[in-house]
């Protein structure tokens, strides 16, 4: 591990991977990566590699879990044992249970749940490689997968984190910055509705720093939002061309 004295930002204001403070990592989004799923997406954000699949709307099993006035949304966030430095046990950890819940709650406001009563939609997220900010990348990918599955939505949900590295606020923290940095603020956002659907924080920030971090994260979200839409267009424009 690195020493505590090590600086994460050099004199020119560049970070360990050469990024500027307000710069995102390279992002690649691929729609329809899995043929069995009703909708799917693959995202790479820096060294993060994450698959998201959506199954449904389908019948609810066991039946008593069904809701008469709306669909049930379920989500499982899971990390592959080889996704991190030290092997992670494949059994769901408490962290994964919490993240499954907050990811589900970040996507729920975007979906017209009342359109499909008595059904369930399952979202499965598998983190193949983790490099900090996996919950955000998972939400970004899962929302694209929901759109790919044709689930009626108010808006795409896009997520991005900002945090405090050394003494300044920086966008989209990678693993090392997250671990030795001072704070991390993941935010999920629906840009068209100006609605924050996930907000967490750990570390220590003043109110002013927190405000800056949220605003920077929202800027990042807006950039990734364009990439989400572009990825969806790439798939469906190609399909249309193939049909013609």
């Amino acid at each position: 591990m690195s020493q505590k004295t090590e600086k994460l930002i050099d004199k020119k204001g560049l970070r360990l991977d050469g990024r500027k403070l307000n710069e995102l990592r390279p992002i690649k989004i691929e729609v329809g990566a899995l043929s069995n799923a009703d909708g799917s997406a693959y995202i790479e954000q820096g060294k993060n590699k994450i698959l998201a699949a959506v199954y449904g709307p389908k019948e609810v099993h066991p039946k008593h879990l069904a809701l008469q006035d709306r669909m049930v949304l379920r989500c499982r966030y899971h990390m592959a044992p080889f996704s991190v430095q030290e092997r992670k046990s494949p059994a769901p950890s408490r962290r994964e249970v919490e993240l499954s819940k907050v990811i589900r709650e970040s996507l729920e406001p975007s979906i017209f749940l009342e359109y499909y009563p008595r059904t369930v939609v399952d979202i499965f997220v598998e983190v193949l490689q983790a490099d900090g900010g996996t919950r955000c990348a998972s939400i970004t990918a899962a929302s694209v997968a929901l759109a790919d599955a044709g689930i009626p939505m108010r808006d795409l949900v896009v997520a991005c984190a900002a945090g405090k590295v050394d003494e300044t606020i920086a966008l989209d923290l990678m693993d090392t910055e997250d671990k030795i940095g001072k704070a991390d603020v993941p935010v999920a956002f629906m840009p068209n509705l100006n609605a924050i659907t996930l907000l967490q924080m750990d570390g220590i920030l003043t109110t002013e720093e927190f405000e800056n971090a949220v605003n920077l994260a929202l800027e990042g979200c807006k950039k990734i939002y364009l990439m989400q839409k572009e990825a969806l267009k790439t798939k469906y424009v190609n399909v249309k061309e193939a049909e013609e």
Binding site: V97, K101, D202, G203, I204, T207, F210, L218
Partner: protein, 230 residues
């Protein structure tokens, strides 16, 4: 709100918190264990929460569900991120033996805002915790006479909001929670810094609302600090 400390003699520390009709008990236990490899000089904090079936008709027996796990992790995050416990003082033999502090949150009556009640009860129990004096003699841990209080240096206090009809409601009770769109919790430390946040529920917040909540949380924690003298 009302807090009582030291109510369970067998526990190293304990507290009972009443927040309206919500009642939460927290007991702490200290055991000797191994440190994490990346923090060989630091003690370990473990928080667990049980939504005991006798507390509400909606709680079922069984292993902690996602609500219990989320509750435990929010309480944990407030204590951990604010550096409430001086974990370096819990080290007995660097890299080999440290004190492990178990904080067990026991919800006894659910009438809303379990997060704030649990976080306050946990802090009250930690402030009440006494640990044995451990020493290393010839590579073995021995227990010396007497007790020392658990080294607590910060006092994180959480404030939870419910969003109802587009408005922020502080410290929601059960009926408010049942109709809320979303929930937001902020933990504030002794210097008015924010040290943990968690949004919950399947609704959303406008960005301005989040910043407003941060300001209200500061005022409310001041009130709570005065009331409880922390």
């Amino acid at each position: 709100m009302k807090v009582e400390q030291g109510i369970i003699e067998r526990a190293e520390g304990s507290a009972r918190m009443l927040l309206g009709k919500t009642e939460v008990m927290v007991g702490t236990k200290i055991e000797i264990g191994e440190p994490f490899p990346d923090t060989p000089n630091e003690g370990v904090l473990t928080v667990n929460a049980e939504l005991v079936p006798l507390a509400s008709p909606i709680f079922e027996p069984g292993p902690p569900d996602e609500n219990a796990i989320e509750l435990a992790r929010i309480v944990d995050r407030g204590i951990r991120e604010s550096k409430a416990i001086d974990v370096e003082k819990l080290c007995i033999d660097p890299g080999k033996k440290v004190c492990v502090v178990f904080v067990d949150v026991y919800v006894l009556n659910h009438d809303g805002n379990l997060i704030d009640a649990s976080a306050l009860a946990a802090l009250a129990a930690l402030l009440n915790t006494k640990m044995s004096n451990y020493e290393i003699e010839e590579g073995k841990v021995t227990i010396k006479q007497g007790y020392t209080p658990l080294p607590i240096k910060r006092h994180p206090i959480t404030v939870t909001f419910a969003k109802i009809n587009g408005k922020l409601v502080v410290d929601p009770w059960l009926e408010e929670e049942q109709v809320m769109d979303a929930r937001l919790t902020m933990a504030i430390d002794d210097d008015d810094n924010i040290c943990a946040i968690q949004k919950g529920g399947s609704g959303y917040f406008a960005p301005e609302q989040v910043l407003e909540a941060a300001k209200i949380a500061k005022e409310k924690t001041e009130e709570i600090r005065k009331k409880l003298d922390w």
